[in-house]
Symmetry: C2
Subunit: 245 residues, 2 copies
DNA sequence: CGCCATCTTGACACGTATCAACAGGCGTGG
DNA sequence: CCACGCCTGTTGATACGTGTCAAGATGGCG
């Protein structure tokens, strides 16, 4: 079927069934490299709330997010917390070339990860420029994202922040949303929030109460409908986008 | 003298006199590659305030910062602005692999740049994994920085933000500052702010007035002395660090 | 059915923005 | 050389948005 998979028989079984293999960094690897890689990888499931990486801990392994959402955050000594990134499948997770982690990572939803020890990946990166290129491009995307959120954190109002957050989730959970927007179709989206109110507050630099009030306001204005506190329906994506500032 | 420069005669004259050649991305290149590169590069000086990159403009060239400070910022449609990064020599400037710029760049101080057309650098990157690696590492450092500032923007008070900014400048303008801190020596630093109050405000997500008031407070508390509105003396770096939250 | 965590809502406080006036530095031109 | 005006920064009075504290509602789950 797939011309690129002509050597499919050599591709490790685990990788063959991997949903994100072609989208993530593994897309840079040929069958032989995948085989090398798969000797070291370990697929794990973690339930929501599990700490995946502790801040300041030694970096021992990296991972690919295969399913679910991972929350990256930083904390001040007195406990104030800021979520500095969200990673969706098929993102790569971990600070390449670092010695210590500079963020902590937590499973925001139930997640599946494909773990790989630090030395194994770094060896592979050295031998495969295409792999480094993929990782580089993801780093640049994350940098773009981080800078976008700096604008949100520094200059947007609470109302705009909450709308921007919903917009982020809508476009990342449901890829169709972004497509329909480009078609200028005012379509309905429905999705589950992968974060609690507390996490959303930590992401937006707000308090739980302010997030809740802004969601209520959006609900009263008919921009969103909230079902069971976790499921959100956006009847008209354009109206949500307008609220993002 | 320098074993690595055994082929110094082949190194282009411009590069030979370049102060940042070994520190910046050019450190990844051999004499032949430098020669190729130097055929396309152009060293330019720009005075403070000059727009170097316009947001949403097509990316035509990249640059190395050789001297001075460059300010990266994003703007909302209504004019609210956020500085999302500062680049010091020998940083690389520009969004590799991008089609459009997603930030604008302005010379914060008088700067010297080494410009290189987009296609020339991208060709060189393809041929030289070591160059991509250098650029990748810088991207990762910038990502770390951006996330650090997300914590500042989202969770620190105005007082902590201003102290953190001074700390950033102190450690980046005067490399000795960082060193002396590691030696746990409470030493004096003196430096010039590369940014106006307006820029500092845009960097910290505050207003000019709040920045001014916080600086006054730090001055009254003896944490800093301000000379001519631009030069700052920090008599005890540890006391400044304590204010960073 | 009832408990517990999560979320919402309300009253009030506080930090930062806003608006306005003023001060100082610096270059220009008389 | 001084006078003027402009730009940048400071300071003050007040307003507003968001945080804080407290109570209550809702929903998931045993």
């Amino acid at each position: 079927m797939d011309r690129l998979d002509i050597h499919n028989s050599e591709v490790p079984a685990l990788c063959r069934s991997c949903e994100v293999r072609h989208k993530g960094i593994c897309g840079a690897l040929d069958a032989a490299q995948l085989l090398t890689l798969s000797k070291h990888t370990q697929q794990v499931r973690q339930s929501a709330g599990t700490e995946l990486i502790a801040d300041d801990s030694e970096i021992r392994s990296y991972a690919n997010v295969m399913r679910g959402v991972v929350k990256l955050s930083k904390m001040l000594e007195d406990g104030r917390q800021q979520v500095v990134g969200l990673q969706f499948a098929p993102d790569f997770l971990g600070r390449l070339y670092g010695k210590q982690n500079t963020v902590s990572a937590e499973a925001a939803s139930d997640v599946e990860l494909c773990r790989i020890p630090k030395p194994a990946l770094e060896r592979l990166v050295q031998d495969c420029p295409e792999l480094e290129h993929k990782l580089h491009e993801q780093a640049l995307r994350e940098l773009d994202d981080a800078r976008g959120w700096m604008l949100t954190l520094g200059r947007k109002t609470a109302a705009e922040k909450v709308a921007s957050f919903l917009w982020l989730i809508a476009t990342h959970i449901d890829p169709a949303a972004e497509a329909s927007r480009q078609m200028e179709t005012a379509s309905t989206i429905k999705f589950d929030l992968p974060l609690s109110r507390a996490d959303i507050a930590d992401f937006l630099g707000l308090t739980i109460e302010t997030v809740s009030r802004q969601l209520t306001k959006l609900r009263r204005d008919g921009v969103i409908e909230v079902i069971n506190n976790r499921t959100v329906v956006v009847p008209d994506t354009e109206r949500l986008e307008l609220r993002c500032g």
